[in-house]
């Protein structure tokens, strides 16, 4: 299933999420099971199926990591089920340092300041990765697609760091 086609987008990484939300509501209305309440059993089942597709499509396109994974899967690169190990030492060293920084938050003089600094660092790095990803996904070459897959893997590490930081911040506020 090509979700870009379903939502009438050209297959580009940069999509307008406001337009996406609008088309989601339109599609939802068009396929909603209530509309088929008086139709045949088959028609109703189809509507339930299509509703599930529309929901999954929306969740996929809304999230940048899942959207990029979807684009790559349409090109035959499956990232969602892989167990590949990342071996980029410089990148992993940075991940370790950030994980250590997360551990140090609680003991820092101004935890909120440390948290804000880390949010900024994470955001800056994510922006850098996303720029590379956008360019590599827009190129048609196989080589760029494989590089794009690497950016997606790195963005997954960043998503994990971001979750951890949010969790620490929530715990501090409690």
């Amino acid at each position: 299933m090509n979700y870009f086609e379903l939502f009438k987008f050209s297959p580009a990484f940069d999509i307008d999420t406001a337009v996406l939300a609008e088309r989601y509501r339109e599609l939802q209305r068009a396929v909603h099971p209530d509309k088929f309440a008086n139709d045949t059993e088959q028609q109703r089942l189809l509507s339930v199926q299509r509703t599930a597709q529309v929901n999954d499509g929306y969740q996929t396109l809304k999230d940048p990591i899942r959207r990029a994974e979807h684009m790559l899967s349409l090109r035959g690169i499956d990232l969602s089920h892989e167990t590949t190990t990342v071996k980029d030492t410089a990148f992993l060293m940075q991940q370790m340092e950030w994980r250590e920084a997360l551990e140090d938050i609680r003991d820092s003089a101004d935890p909120q300041e440390s948290i804000d600094e880390l949010y900024d660092s994470f955001a800056a790095y994510r922006t850098k990765l996303t720029k590379l990803l956008t360019a590599q996904l827009s190129s048609g070459s196989e080589e760029d697609a494989l590089l794009a897959a690497d950016q997606v893997r790195k963005l997954k590490f960043m998503a994990k760091l971001h979750d951890e930081l949010t969790r620490i911040e929530d715990a501090l506020l409690d």
Binding site: T83, V86, K87, F91, M96
Partner: protein, 127 residues
Amino acid sequence: MAYSEKVIDHYENPRNVGSFDKNDPSVVTGMVGAPACGDVMKLQLKIGADGIIEDAKFKTYGCGSAIASSSLVTEWVKGKTIEQAAAIKNTDIAEELALPPVKIHCSILAEDAIKAAIDEYKSKQAK
């Protein structure tokens, strides 16, 4: 999900946590990460002139299974030759720790960490 007793033991009393001085010429480092869960693992080996692994240390950010896998590996590699250490398979680790299928990738990560450290050793030797 229930962890096995061995995983809990390694998780609660991890063996050989920490770091060696990375400027020590006998120390090599293997860094690996798993994008699916964001786990990061660092395995350091101290290797003697005779090619025997004298000591090992690890630092892992990840779930209990990832920590247990790396802790176990540091115990296993000590006293082994490079070839013996390179022969450790993720299936050995998964079996010893009774890892469920969804945590097999943690044992793969630990195997890859040994391989990454040995690769660094070999490239150092070649210099």
